[in-house]
Symmetry: C2
């Protein structure tokens, strides 16, 4: 089956340690010996056993990613980006879906931490300090910040300001906001952005309250929005916006003629709605890339100072926003 380093050593007429050195490009080996070893390894189709290597080096060559829900395209995107960057770095990645359950998040940390060199926590729902206490490896956060930890976040409040400015420029003066789960960290960021935007532009913001961050959440919020004097609505994320669009269409409200809708995230389906959704673009693939890089740095040197990267956001204007009609 799998040939071992000793098989290669025998075939090449050298010792096991020499094979190890020759193949890992470490230590000094004569060119002639090295090529003989490489030839033998090739012939036997030898691949170092990662488990055995991991035992002695303490490195697994793996990264772990914990997300609240893979079905949310936002997290799927992060997973994809992380995967791709990890592959480029020669790492494999464990993915754990915590099903929006803080308990499962902790469980995932515990079961993964021994098998990976580093952990990426994406939008964790639970207490970060608690999670980190159970992690035996470096940790990087995505879409959440925590003192003393490296993190990659997006400038959500800046994006919010841009969105509101754009709506204001179109002529909207009263804007509804559909909030998500109250505990959400990014939710806090958005509300802060809204306060800033109100100060900067003078628009009036109507908080419609907390809804689930899902299609149904948006669906439910639509009726409240229509009952309000707002001419535009900012949704917690694109999925919520999608629910809004749907309910609005069902009620015969035209978008953007009667109501303008703006989402957050710019996930794939934001382009697929009708009309295509104006949305605040949050970088995901690049966030994932950065997260891998931060992690790799922390693995190489555990004492490296944590870094809090904030990625720029921008507004993607599509067809769901326009000049408000008189109501």
């Amino acid at each position: 089956m799998g040939s071992t380093i000793r098989d290669v050593a025998r075939a090449a007429g050298v010792s096991a340690s020499t094979v190890s050195r020759a193949l890992s490009e470490r230590g000094s080996v004569s060119g002639e010996t090295r090529s003989r070893v490489i030839a033998a390894a090739e012939r036997l189709d030898y691949r170092p056993n990662p488990t055995a290597r991991g035992l002695i080096t303490g490195r697994t060559g793996n990264l772990g990613l914990i997300v609240p829900d893979l079905l949310n395209p936002f997290f799927a995107d992060v997973a994809k980006g992380l995967q791709s960057r990890a592959r480029a770095t020669g790492l494999s990645v464990f993915v754990a879906d915590a099903d929006e359950d803080p308990r499962l998040e902790l469980e995932a940390v515990q079961s993964l931490t021994r098998q990976v060199d580093g952990l990426v926590l994406c939008s964790p729902r639970s207490d970060v300090a608690e999670l980190v206490r159970h992690a035996a490896t470096p940790v990087v956060l995505i879409h959440r910040r925590h003192p003393g930890l490296s993190s990659v976040t997006a400038d959500v409040s800046g994006g919010t300001v841009k969105a509101v400015q754009n709506l204001r420029a179109l002529g909207h003066t009263t804007i509804a906001y559909v909030d998500g789960p109250a505990a959400s960290w990014v939710g806090g960021q958005r509300r802060e952005g809204l306060r800033e935007a109100v100060q900067a532009t003078g628009v009036e913001v109507i908080h419609l309250g907390n809804f689930a961050g899902t299609f149904d959440g948006g669906f439910a919020a639509a009726d409240l929005m229509l009952a309000s004097p707002a001419t535009a609505v900012l949704a917690y994320n694109d999925i919520v916006a999608c629910g809004l669009l749907n309910r609005l269409a069902a009620r015969g409200v035209r978008v953007p003629d009667d109501v303008s809708v703006v989402g957050y995230d710019d996930v794939t389906i934001a382009m697929m709605t009708y009309p295509p959704l104006t949305t605040v673009h949050l970088p995901r693939q690049s966030a994932a890339r950065t997260a891998v890089d931060l992690l790799v740095a922390a693995i190489k040197d555990p004492d490296v100072a944590p870094r809090e990267d904030v990625l720029a956001t921008h507004l993607v204007v599509r067809a769901s926003t326009g000049v408000p009609a008189r109501r």
Copy 2:
């Protein structure tokens, strides 16, 4: 940091082998000794090092999943289902996104196979025999069949028949079909189902040709569909259907009044389109569950006979299909 089995042994006043036996419920240990060991392990927060255990047992406790594209909600769903079932079985899962690239699929097999006890290949794009040649562990296929391998597929052709029968019952006699990539295995299944359906119902099927299995593919196909005499259209999958809906809406065609649209997969966004999409439901979470179970069986006994499970499909009728208008 992490305490070892010897630390526990010392703390409990026994040997390392006794600790191993006590904790793994294997072999004979007196009740008194066991509880002393367990107490010591608890106190030291001892967790067996999975790497070391893996080295000696040859088991990693991990599963590998290779999908073409995590952004496709279909595959994200499979990943989620697999993950959840694996967790319930005490396994962790590696996820590899091959980016629709056969070369990356092979690479993923090679880099994962030594770190897992079993591999799940979901809709592989490449030659399955070639992939399996490089796998050192049991393999289960999802959404593809291959002689000698366990697989979990959905009865796509049966679902197709149901879809066509439904359209026929509504009064459609000419149906367009938007095909996906020519090489696709499921594509073949759908075409076969179409042939069956034509025989059974006598409808006429117009093949609009091969398109990318994406939103853009559907977008592009819409114009061809409108130029044909068909009153209903079957799309390669829900995403393609979504593209169709969009282009139809943009051209002022009403769904389902002017044209009926049917998708495949029943992914989440099928509920979120306007109008909500009638679609052939393909089980994913249960496919993933079955795949884990088949794999676990194959891991326990490598000589177990391969099983080809075919899961039932059904038509989910939503608002995108209706009685055809005279054109």
